[in-house]
Subunit: 237 residues, 2 copies
Amino acid sequence: MHQTFDAALEINLLHANQAGADHNRQHFDQWGITCLNIMSSPGAGKTVLLEKTLAALSKQLKIAVIEGDMTTQLDADRLRQYGVPVIAITTGRSCHLDSQMVAGGIHQLAKDYHPEDFDLVLVENVGNLVCPAEFEVGEHGKVALLSITEGEDKPLKYPIMFQEADCVLITKMDLAPYLEINVDRIINNIRQINPYAMIIPLSGKSGTGMLTWFDWLKQQVTTPHEIPKTLGAYAIT
Amino acid sequence: MHQTFDAALEINLLHANQAGADHNRQHFDQWGITCLNIMSSPGAGKTVLLEKTLAALSKQLKIAVIEGDMTTQLDADRLRQYGVPVIAITTGRSCHLDSQMVAGGIHQLAKDYHPEDFDLVLVENVGNLVCPAEFEVGEHGKVALLSITEGEDKPLKYPIMFQEADCVLITKMDLAPYLEINVDRIINNIRQINPYAMIIPLSGKSGTGMLTWFDWLKQQVTTPHEIPKTLGAYAIT
């Protein structure tokens, strides 16, 4: 969140965003769609995760992607190869998606497709471990990725993202042998911030943990609109 | 940058910040200090870079650090072990340092030490590849780190940071053998955004590139207040 030298203004900004998010969520609920907001630092593996997820699940579930980037359609083009609707939103100078931008994506989905046919909308946010966590876009759940290369202390140093997450994916586990980083300490640090989030160490490259992620994702669709919170839930794979 | 639904407000916000940055720079100039703003995504290696830099140069140059974090003093505590003044600024919910926060750090430096004794102030910004690039803090130059693990496309997707940088460090080069990532493509993508920045691939772990970084840094101190722009300057080490 940017400081604006005016606390009342910040509250108004978040309030306006929240009203838009509630409106978006009403659309999703009306159409029976589960929406998840996928967030992380740049380069933690959000797009690879979506590629693997679409390759594995797009026959079982009807999925659409809303793809946020500051500039370029590089990620949107990668994902379109999987034959699902990908709605690209370029945010320009903005460091996160807000509910107004996602509303534009939703209205486009409703114009070009039958939205009630869809099971799942995955929103890939701008790469930023800080700001996206404060701006709801109408999602039913938040997924935070943390690359193991980012270090053990990040959940403590960037707590808002990890407080808000329903599921934390520790990515690039294939690099663990080459790093002096202990995944158990990462998990303990997440637990200090959030006792409830599902935590899944995984690697898009080696495939480790991916089936657990697919199971968690399918569970959100079959029990929509309420992410079950299980104290201390995590999967070591 | 956050969209505030009000372009005039955004301009005012950046304008107020710039006035503060100019004020801070006047202090640095008056004391003969070079100030560099060190920025990157979370976990790209800013603190390791500062540790190695302080270990190598703190006998030759009189250095102080202004250390920005949302929460915790974990990084400040790591850097204090090198016997230099480390002024910690916790930004709370704010996703970047602004000139007002750094002014507080400068005034503390002037209160506790003789500021005219110092050669170099290194500002470690909050881990965020987007927002810090838009908020000057009074620095004479900007250093952007990009971990090789973040992928080849990041300079194109997060262009503002790379446009603004005087020096780009491609970090964690020791992991290159385990990644399907080509450092030449990263360099080409930076060059598309910025023809002038010094580009140094390096690794704090293996030491590769560190001497080139130290040389560049010392050059900024001996020719202060003007970062020389050399078309296409980069070092492959």
